[in-house]
Every structure is written in structure tokens, then in C-alpha cells.
């Protein structure tokens, strides 16, 4: 059986791992799983994310060695305070990509390619601050393109609206974000969900089946597991709590009962 607890998932993680986190900004982040990492001994993690509070929380708790992201934002609150602090104190390394480059990195990893070419990034300082990035000449024209390396990861953590006990995952909101790509890009994927159900097609249409069990190592039933980020249509973002997160001193916030 793939159904497990947050603790079971955290026990499968190791310090130093590269962990991809699904969702986008402050939307459908696997917050229950992130909370599990916060309360573990894990450290030295590389976090790959269209970043939001997941990145901020892990930075504040000292779990992060490197962040790979095109942005870190809370959407309704543009700047993420804990990510900012970590960057300004120099306590984390940062690999900063354009949003489209980042998607191509996910696509490359999902297709088990070493890289994918794109124009996005050329001419910008993304090339300056990531000196390891290479360009590639088109074999069909004289165009030079960025060779975005595959964003391979040890583990992906995603939160979906529904899943079944075998690990098939379903989204019911307006946007799948990139959660299927994370699942395909990682060696192991753990899905938390609002509810584990027997028959996903009673919950939503065929097109809402986003992640196949062939890509999933474990399923956690975690109602409210994306809170305080949004998980449409089950619940919107908890703006009051998000505000509290950005204004409360870290130690006070993390000690607070949820």
C-alpha cells in the first residue's frame, strides 16, 4: 500500500537531497509535507520550486543549502520575507532562472533529456549569474540557444485535491501548475491530497487525472494540506494567516499551535 503519513514521507528523505516542490507561488503548496520537514533533522537541501512560502519556511528553519527558482513570492504579498532575509544574509546559494527556462528544465528532466534549448534567458543577467549555463548552436540554422539543463531531483512533493490509494492523483482547480512534470522529473514522488477516494471519476472529469501511480511512491491523506496557500476549489488562500506568517517573528510563528 502506498498510503502513508507525513512522518513516513519525511523518513524517506535524506539531508543533502534535491527536492522539487509543486504548486506555484502561494498556490497549492504541499504545506503539510513541508511542515514535516521543518520539524525533522533534515538539512542541506536543494529546493527546486516556482517558489512561495515553501521556500521561505524551509529557509527560515535553516534546512536549505540552495534554492533553484525563477521567483519566490506569496502572490498577494509580493516579497517573501524569509527568502529575502536568507539571500541578504548570504546564508543560501541561489540558482536563478527565467520562468520559461525553468519549465524547460522540468520538461527535460521529465523526458530524461540532458537539456532542452530555448531562447529565454539570452541577453539577460541570468547567463551572468549562472556561469555553468551553456549555449548550443542550432544544427538547422545559425541560431544560438540556451541549453537549459534537466532539473533532475531526488524527490518531488506535490499536493493535489484527490488521489486514490494506488497513487493516482487528480486536480480539481483551474490550473494544474506543473505538478505532473515534477512527478515525472523526480526519482520518487510523494503526493499529499485533500481526500483519498476509491473512484476519482466521481470527483472530476477524465482530464483532471494529472498524475499516474507509475510516478508515485506514496500518498498522504492530508485535509487542508496546502493551507495557508490556496487549494481551489477546496479552499482559497488564508490571507489572514499568510499575513501573520509575514509579520510574526519566526520563532514565535513556528512555536504557535496550528
Amino acid at each position: 500500500m502506498k498510503v502513508m503519513t507525513v512522518g513516513d514521507v519525511v523518513a524517506r528523505l535524506e539531508s543533502g537531497m534535491t527536492i522539487g516542490v509543486g504548486g506555484w507561488g502561494s498556490r497549492r503548496k504541499p504545506m503539510a509535507l513541508i511542515e514535516g520537514i521543518l520539524r525533522s533533522d533534515l538539512t542541506d537541501l536543494t529546493i527546486v520550486s516556482y517558489g512561495g512560502a515553501d521556500v521561505g519556511l524551509l529557509c527560515a528553519a535553516g534546512k536549505v543549502r540552495r534554492v533553484v527558482a525563477p521567483f519566490v513570492t506569496l502572490d498577494s504579498i509580493p516579497l517573501e520575507p524569509h527568502f529575502r532575509k536568507a539571500r541578504q544574509e548570504g546564508s543560501i546559494a541561489f540558482t536563478e532562472y527565467d520562468e520559461g527556462m525553468f519549465m524547460f528544465g522540468l520538461l527535460a528532466a521529465a523526458h530524461r533529456l540532458p537539456f532542452l534549448p530555448t531562447r529565454a534567458g539570452l541577453g539577460s543577467d541570468v547567463m551572468r549569474v549562472n556561469p555553468e549555463l551553456r549555449t548550443v548552436s542550432s544544427p538547422y540554422s545559425d541560431e544560438e540557444l540556451v541549453a537549459v539543463p534537466a532539473l533532475t531531483m531526488d524527490v518531488a512533493l506535490i499536493h493535489l485535491n484527490r488521489a486514490d490509494a494506488r497513487g493516482n492523483g487528480q486536480y480539481l482547480g483551474p490550473d494544474p501548475y506543473f505538478d505532473d512534470l515534477y512527478a515525472k522529473a523526480a526519482r520518487q514522488t510523494f503526493v499529499s491530497c485533500e481526500r483519498v477516494v476509491d473512484d476519482l471519476l466521481k470527483e472530476g472529469p477524465l482530464q483532471s487525472l494529472l498524475v499516474s501511480r507509475a510516478m508515485v511512491s506514496g500518498v498522504v491523506e492530508a485535509p487542508g494540506g496546502a493551507w495557508f496557500t490556496s487549494c481551489e476549489p477546496d479552499y482559497p488562500r488564508d490571507e489572514d494567516w499568510q499575513k501573520r506568517y509575514t509579520t510574526t517573528p519566526w520563532q514565535e510563528f513556528i512555536d504557535e499551535p496550528r
Binding site: W24, E99, T118, D125
Partner: protein, 239 residues
């Protein structure tokens, strides 16, 4: 008629002639109103969104749900559309230089910034692949700088696809000069050329005769009131 009304019209004018492309206003009331007003008046073929992933069939007022939806544009397709190019985006910038290179990533040395901002987001790809305009609500020497700290959006000297115009609370600027540097195109009513020059931290190309930014028509003002009955646009512009 307020300064904010003039700014919305100046932003809407950026979309004139665009036809059947997505008019993407990034953040805030002014850019969203500009795209919607352009679609409701002189550029009816534009596509506009609800701010998330719905392409709306009608053009609702700010914050209201559309009556009809004509398309679905989740983030993955939005990122595809950026690379495809049938999109005109109106971005913002924390810093902009005389060739229109912009920064939204961080202030100071990137390796350990004085102030971490958003990150480059989609600015590199947007500016390389799409017509791009900017809305900058506070025209000041802190924003209009000699050199930006982290080039996120590309200027005319670094391969920008098509930088159309920069609208601020004081003026409209474009890049219609032989070397693609920034030029003062018009000043808003009540603003002098000197005001703009003083608020700009680099030498600006100033033509001998600088026109005034055009005023909204009576019909445009009516459309604006219906799209923004609560006057959210006023909160984005000081004057």
C-alpha cells in the same frame, strides 16, 4: 478627469494596432484597466484574461467574474505563449536604464543583495519574445538609473524583441531614437519637461517640441467608470 485616468489611456495606447493577441497586464489596476479599455474601445480583437487562467469572453469590471469564458490559459500554456509571441505584455520594473534594460530581481550585488526582490520571473523571455511595454507608477531617479543591478528584462541594446513604450505617473517615453535610447514622447497634463528630466537619473532624449499626453475621450471616461467604479486606479497614482 484624474492623473490616473490619463495614465490608463496612455497604457491602453500601447496596445493600439495589436489585433488578435493577448494583452497581458501584470499586476495592479492600471495595466489591467488599460488592456480591458483598449479591447472595449479601439482594439476590439485583443484577448484579455481574468488575472488567473481564464480568457474572458466579455470584459468584466475589476474584481468581477466574467459572464462568459472563451479560453483556458494555465501557467504552462501562458509560458508557451510567451515563447510563441502572440502576446503584448505590460511589465513593471524596480530599475530601468536608458536602453530599457530593467530589474525586478534584487538591488545591489546579486551574490549578496542589499534587497532581494522577486527574482527575474519571466522578464528575460518576455522581453526577448514579446512586444513589451512598462508601467512605472513612480517616476524617480531611484527607478530611472544609469545601470540596473541585475538585468531581468532586455533593453534595445541587448536584443529586446520590441520595446514599445514606458508609461509613468509623469510622462510617456519611447525608444524612437537612432541608438534606441529612451526619449520623452509626451508629458501628462500639469507636468513640465523639467519635472521629467529631474526625475530621470540618466540623460533623456528630449525633442524640441514635447506634446502633451492625450486626454481620455468622454466615451473612454465612461468605460473607465464602468470598469473601475470603486476608483482603484486612483490608489496607484499619487497625483
Amino acid at each position: 478627469m484624474s492623473r490616473a485616468d490619463v495614465c490608463v489611456i496612455a497604457c491602453a495606447e500601447a496596445f493600439r494596432g495589436d489585433g488578435e493577441v493577448l494583452a497581458a497586464g501584470i499586476g495592479g489596476a492600471i495595466t489591467v484597466l488599460a488592456a480591458r479599455l483598449a479591447r472595449l474601445t479601439f482594439e476590439p480583437d485583443l484577448l484579455t484574461s481574468d488575472g488567473t487562467c481564464l480568457l474572458t469572453g466579455d470584459v468584466p469590471e475589476l474584481g468581477a467574474a466574467p459572464r462568459t469564458v472563451e479560453g483556458w490559459l494555465p501557467f504552462r500554456d501562458h509560458l508557451w505563449l510567451v515563447l510563441h509571441g502572440r502576446r503584448h505584455v505590460m511589465l513593471s520594473a524596480s530599475q530601468i536604464d536608458r536602453h530599457g534594460n530593467t530589474n525586478i530581481s534584487c538591488i545591489g550585488d546579486w551574490t549578496r543583495p542589499k534587497a532581494q526582490l522577486l527574482g527575474v520571473r519571466g522578464a528575460p523571455g518576455n522581453t526577448l519574445c514579446n512586444p513589451t511595454s512598462y508601467w512605472i507608477p513612480r517616476h524617480s531617479p531611484r527607478v530611472f538609473v544609469e545601470r540596473v543591478d541585475m538585468i531581468s528584462g532586455l533593453g534595445t541594446d541587448r536584443g529586446a524583441y520590441d520595446l514599445r513604450r514606458v508609461v509613468t505617473d509623469l510622462a510617456v517615453l519611447d525608444f524612437d531614437t537612432p541608438d534606441g535610447s529612451m526619449r520623452l514622447a509626451s508629458v501628462h497634463p500639469g507636468v513640465s519637461v523639467d519635472d521629467v528630466v529631474r526625475a530621470t537619473g540618466f540623460p533623456l532624449a528630449v525633442p524640441g517640441d514635447v506634446p502633451q499626453t492625450r486626454l481620455p475621450t468622454a466615451q473612454e471616461l465612461e468605460v473607465l467608470r464602468s470598469l473601475d467604479p470603486g476608483g482603484q486606479r486612483g490608489k496607484e497614482v499619487a497625483a
